[in-house]
Every structure is written in C-alpha cells, then in structure tokens.
C-alpha cells in the first residue's frame, strides 16, 4: 500500500514538474517613443482628426511565438499574452486648440487622464503570404472611466533587432463610453459630431532585455 502511495506521489511530482517546465516563458516588451494613435471622426461641418504620439505600457508575449511570419504556425491559434497600455488624453491633439479643449472635456480628461487597454485574449489568425502576422485581440478598453470589451484586428511586425510594432484599427461608438461632445456654443446647434470614430494605432515596443532572437 505505502509503496503504491510513494509511487503515485512520485508520478504526480514528475507530472507536475513536467507541466511546470512546459509552462510558457514570457518575453517582455516595453513601450518606446515613436508610436502614433489617430482618431478620425465626422461632424455635420467637416471630418476631424486627432493625433497622439504617446502610447505607454508594456506587452508580454509567449517566447515560443516566432515573430518571423515565415516561422509562425500556418493555422494560427491562441497565443499567451499580456498587454497593458495607456494613452495620456492630453497628448491627443487636433489641428485646432479649441477642438482640443472640446475633445479633452468630452473625454473627461480632468477625472480620467488616461485611456487604458487591457488584453484578455490574443488569437493568431491563419497566415497570409507576404503579410505581417495578424491576430484578433479581445480586450478591455477604458475611456472616460467606462470600460467596454472590444475586439480588434492587430498585426505584429518586427522592426530592427529588438523592436516590435503593433498596429491595429477599430471603430468605436463614443456613446458606448459615455463620451458626449459639446461643440462650441456659437455653433448654435449646427455642429453635430458623429458618434462613430475610427481609431488607428501603431505602437512601438522594444524588448525589455535585448536577447538574440531564436
């Protein structure tokens, strides 16, 4: 009886350590300057754009994910990843200072100085020849204090030896986040801002501890 118990315990320990050693090793990428985020919107007057050049935060990726598209699995699949990024609202600027003030007020900048994103799931999409690695990212976007889960396509592209550019696009409705734009009073109610806005970003990250790629 004891012999059996010992044997089973040993098997359990071996099995456990086997599982542990197979656990994913994560590579950390830190946000770097040079990113870009654009918000494109419409109104009854004219289309507008706001741009920011600051995306902070970090990303942790399964080290077994080859960033070279040629080496990635063809069918894709779930990828182990952690992403937490933020955009400082006041770094978003349009071509007009007044519009900036209206935009920052609508985003409730004084109470919620940052737009934040937390990844929940990353799935690699089937490969397409000659194109960067594509994924579908599901995550929580927090704008003006309101959090909503959004799905968006993103691509990963290696830049140089140790940088990774994450690019993505997503359309969101401002009303989903309780963002209400108050145009200037003078507009006499003529300017109505469109609810749907197009977000696009290019996020530059660099490996926290530069190591030769596999």
């Amino acid at each position: 009886m004891t012999k059996n118990l010992i044997a089973r315990t040993l098997v359990a320990i071996v099995a456990l350590s086997y599982t542990l050693s197979a656990a994913a090793e994560m590579v950390r990428y830190q946000a770097r300057p040079g990113s870009k985020v654009t918000i494109h919107g419409t109104s009854t007057f004219h289309d507008w754009d706001a741009t920011g050049h600051l995306i902070g935060g970090y990303m942790e990726l399964d080290s077994s994910l080859p960033l070279d598209p040629a080496k990635a699995p063809a069918e894709g699949g779930k990828v182990n990843a952690n992403v937490h990024s933020q955009i400082i609202v006041r770094s978003l600027k349009s071509e007009n200072k007044k519009m900036d003030d209206v935009m920052h007020a609508a985003l409730k900048q004084d109470k919620h100085p940052k737009i934040e994103y937390q990844l929940k799931e990353l799935v690699q999409l089937p490969k397409k020849a000659g194109e960067p690695l594509a994924f579908e990212a599901t995550g929580d976007l927090t704008v003006a204090g309101v959090t909503k889960t959004i799905k968006m396509p993103v691509t990963f592209e290696k830049v140089g030896d140790d940088r990774l550019k994450v690019a993505g696009k997503v359309d969101v409705k401002m009303s989903d986040f309780g963002v209400v734009v108050k145009p200037p009073v003078l507009a006499l109610g003529l300017i109505k801002v469109g609810d749907e806005v197009k977000l696009a970003f290019e996020w530059i990250t660099a490996r926290a501890n530069p190591v030769a790629q596999k």
């Binding site: 600051l54 770094s91 600027k93 003078l186 006499l188 003529l190």
Partner: protein
C-alpha cells in the same frame, strides 16, 4: 538651407476656409452680433496652466511686458530684476508680489520662476539667455536677439539644445491675429504677385534718455553707440523686415544700406536717418526707411502686388485694388475708406471671412484691441505650458530619452499657438544686423546661406 522660392500661392487653402465660414456667417450672422460677451462664451482663448514668470530688464519695454503679464491670469510675476535700483523699484510697484533681484543670476536660482522674459539692452541678451536656458527656464528673448551674429548664433544654439525649455523670440507680430490673417491673405495670392514692399518708421525724437548721473546716462544710452547698438534697422526695422520675409515666405538675398547723422549731432555714432533696400531671391524689393528727424506718417508697411496693394498701419489694414484685378467677390460688401485719391477696402481680422474659421467674430473685434505684445506673451505662456505637460507625459512613460523627447516635441509643433521661435528670431536678427552693416558701410551685402545656419 536654400532660399525658398517666393510666394507659395495657395488659393485652395484660402478658399477652403471661406466656404466653411460663409455657412457660419450666413446662418449665424445676425445672431452672432447679438450674443455679446455672456460669461459662458468668453474667453475665446482658453487659459492654460499657470506659468510663474520673471522679468529681467525693467526699462520701458520690460515694463510693457509687465503690463501685459498683469492681464494674464495664468502668468503670475514672481520675480523682477534690474541692475538699476529706481527701475527695479518701479517694477516692484507694478508687480507687488514679485521678489526683487538686482542680479539676474540670483533670479535664475529661484524655484519660483519657471519662465523668464529678457528685456535687457540688446548686447546683454546672450549672457542672460544662455544662463536662463541652462537653468532650465522657458525663455522669451526680446528682438533683436543680439548685437552680433556670433552672439545671436550662440543663443539659437543654446535654445536648440535645451529641449525641455520653450524659447520664443520677441517678434511679436508673428502672434498677432491681424497679421496672421493678412499673412494667409497675401500668401493666398490675393494681391497677385508681390513685387515690392515699402516700410517706414519715422519719429522725431532723439532716442537719448536723461539720467541722474553721468555714469547711468552713459549706460542708459547704449542705443546711441554702434559698439552696443544695431541702430534703427536692428532695433526697430527688424520687425518690418521680418513681416516682409514672413508674408513673402522667403529670405532676402542681399541688402543695400544708406545712413548718416542728419540731425542729432550729440556725439553719437549711430545714424539717425537710414534707408535699407532688401532684394529677395525673385528680385522683389523691400525698402525700409527710418529717421529720428521727422514724424510724418509714423510707421506703416505697404505690400505692392500685381492685383492690389495692402497697407498695414497701426494694426489696421486696407487693400487698394488695381483696375484690372479680378473680382474677389466679397469686396463689394466690405467697408471702404478714402485716402487722398485712393479708396481702400478695409481688411480687419473681424470682418474678413478668414477670421471666422471657428472663432467668434464679435469677440475677435474686441480682442483685436489688444497689442501684438499681449498676443505674443499669451502664446508664450500657452506654449510653455504645453512644453511642460509634453515633457511630463513623455518622461513619465519613457524616462530620460533626449532624442526621443526632441522628436516628440517636434510632433507637437502644430498644437502651439503662433509665435516666433528661435529660428525665426535668429534669421531676422542676422538680416537686421547685416542690414546695419550695409548701412554703416554704405554698401550692398549679399546675405550668404551659411550665415543662417545654426
């Protein structure tokens, strides 16, 4: 940097603006005039973060700066400095909460100063500006930047290197909404092809100031000695020269100068009557004349183009159309004023469609009563605040990354309020100093491209 070809005519940009604004005017025209200054609609220019200011050099102009600062709620004056006690005391009365310093170095050590205005005599600018930038302050340096090209270059280099500091040069016209509108107007081709500009600054005054002691009088009259003074063209002409360069979107290629002492023979060696003719790359001419012997017509700038001429006087402007010029349309309804035998169409920031791009024309009418200096200082405070938040946002995310920070701040140029940076200040200073040289020599000087490299 190659000399840019003259006048980048951009009619599309001009017209793009008008169609939007015509809609606003059409629908809201009458209502706009009625909605006059209710407390929610004021001010058209929002106040930003507070920037603590120090003024170094509290002479006549330093006190003008103090007056403008007093009107800005987000620009508290925390320090004033002058080496001459009576001026320092006077400044202290204008800014009672400010700490008084007789040594600028001590002012720069104060943590209660985030930005400094340098309004000392021109030949002192370099020393103070370099020290201020080193101390990490934002700097507004009066124009001309310096009395030698070498000093001006040193200031510009220091400004370029100090990425966390915002530097603005005292070419206040670049922040003036009236002139900003006119610049777009002229560059859109409204006057046709610019061929010539005439500017003058005439005032019967000696420029000599009296003081209680001979020593102080000598110091105070630095403007009358060519060793320390860039003369009429350097101190005053620089603004007119810069205005033309700005509107022409080019830099003069050569300058010919004439000058002598015609009236004030008191031992000075700075000419009291001068004329400088600037030649632009397309051979357009700009003549600037200035005298301390006569006041007729004071100061004005006239731009002559193939379709019309524009005269700018006291921050008002008029357009005089040629008989064969194409109809712009709106001039039929515009206000007109008579000048001897000519009829001028009034151009004012609040009555052209250009100005109504998103701004309140009624408030603009009131606002254009302000001086160009006020707008320049307002821009300076706003841009300094913008620089502060940008540096803070960047370093909180990425730490100390000098190159990255410079790149990031460059991307923010578009969000800044209009102003003359160190490059514009440097270019204008070099042009004015070379013009002064041409005047003193009575010669033509080619303005070499390498002189404009920082």
């Amino acid at each position: 940097m190659k000399n840019e070809k003259t006048t980048d005519l951009n009619r599309r940009e001009f017209l793009k603006g008008s169609s939007l604004t015509s809609l606003v005017m059409l629908v809201g025209g009458a209502a706009v005039k009625a909605q006059d200054g209710s407390s929610e609609e004021k001010p058209a220019r929002p106040a930003g973060a507070s920037i603590k200011c120090g003024v170094i050099g509290c002479g006549v102009w330093g006190r003008e700066i103090l007056t403008s600062l007093a009107r800005l709620p987000n620009a508290p004056v925390t320090a004033v400095c002058d080496s001459y006690k009576p001026f320092l005391n006077r400044a202290g009365r204008m800014a009672p909460k400010a700490e008084k310093f007789s040594d600028y170095k001590q002012l720069l050590e104060s943590k209660e100063v985030q930005a400094v205005f340098i309004a000392t005599p021109t030949y002192n600018h370099r020393e103070v500006a370099e020290a201020a930038l080193k101390a990490g302050k934002h700097v507004y340096c009066e124009a001309p930047l310096a009395h030698t090209v070498e000093d001006a270059r040193a200031i510009a280099k220091a400004a370029e290197a100090a990425s966390k500091s915002y530097f603005q040069s005292g070419l206040q016209g670049r922040s003036d909404p009236e002139l900003l509108n006119l610049a777009t107007f002229v560059r859109s081709g409204a006057i046709g092809k610019p061929v010539m500009t005439r500017s003058q600054w005439h005032k019967k005054e000696s420029w000599q100031r009296a003081a209680p002691t001979a020593e102080r009088e000598y110091e105070l009259n630095w403007r009358l000695r060519s060793a320390t003074s860039p003369g009429l063209v350097g101190e005053i002409g620089i603004h007119h020269v810069d205005l033309t360069s700005w509107f022409m979107n080019a830099r003069p290629a050569a300058v010919t100068g004439f000058g002598s002492i015609q009236h004030w023979r008191d031992g000075r060696d700075v000419p009291d009557t001068i004329m400088a003719v600037f030649e632009y790359p397309g051979r357009e001419l700009h003549s600037f004349d200035s005298t301390l012997a006569n006041s007729f017509e004071a100061a004005y700038d006239t731009f002559f183009g193939t379709d019309s001429a524009i005269m700018i006087r006291d921050r008002k402007a008029w357009m005089f159309k040629e008989v064969d010029a194409p109809l712009l349309g709106w001039e039929v309804y515009a206000r007109k004023e008579g000048f001897y035998k000519e009829t001028g169409i009034v151009l004012a920031a609040n009555s052209t469609k250009l100005a109504a791009q998103g701004d309140n024309p009624v408030l603009d009418a009131q606002a254009s009563q302000d001086t160009a200096l006020y707008y320049a200082i307002e821009s300076f405070i706003a841009n300094a605040g913008l620089t502060n938040t940008a540096v803070e946002d960047f370093t909180s995310n990425f730490g100390d990354d000098e190159a990255g920070l410079k790149e990031y701040l460059k991307d923010l140029q578009g969000s800044k309020l209009p102003s003359a940076g160190y490059k514009e200040g440097y270019d204008a200073t070099v042009i004015a100093l070379k013009a002064n040289e041409a005047i003193l020599k009575g010669q033509k000087l080619e303005l070499k491209d390498e002189w404009f490299e920082i």
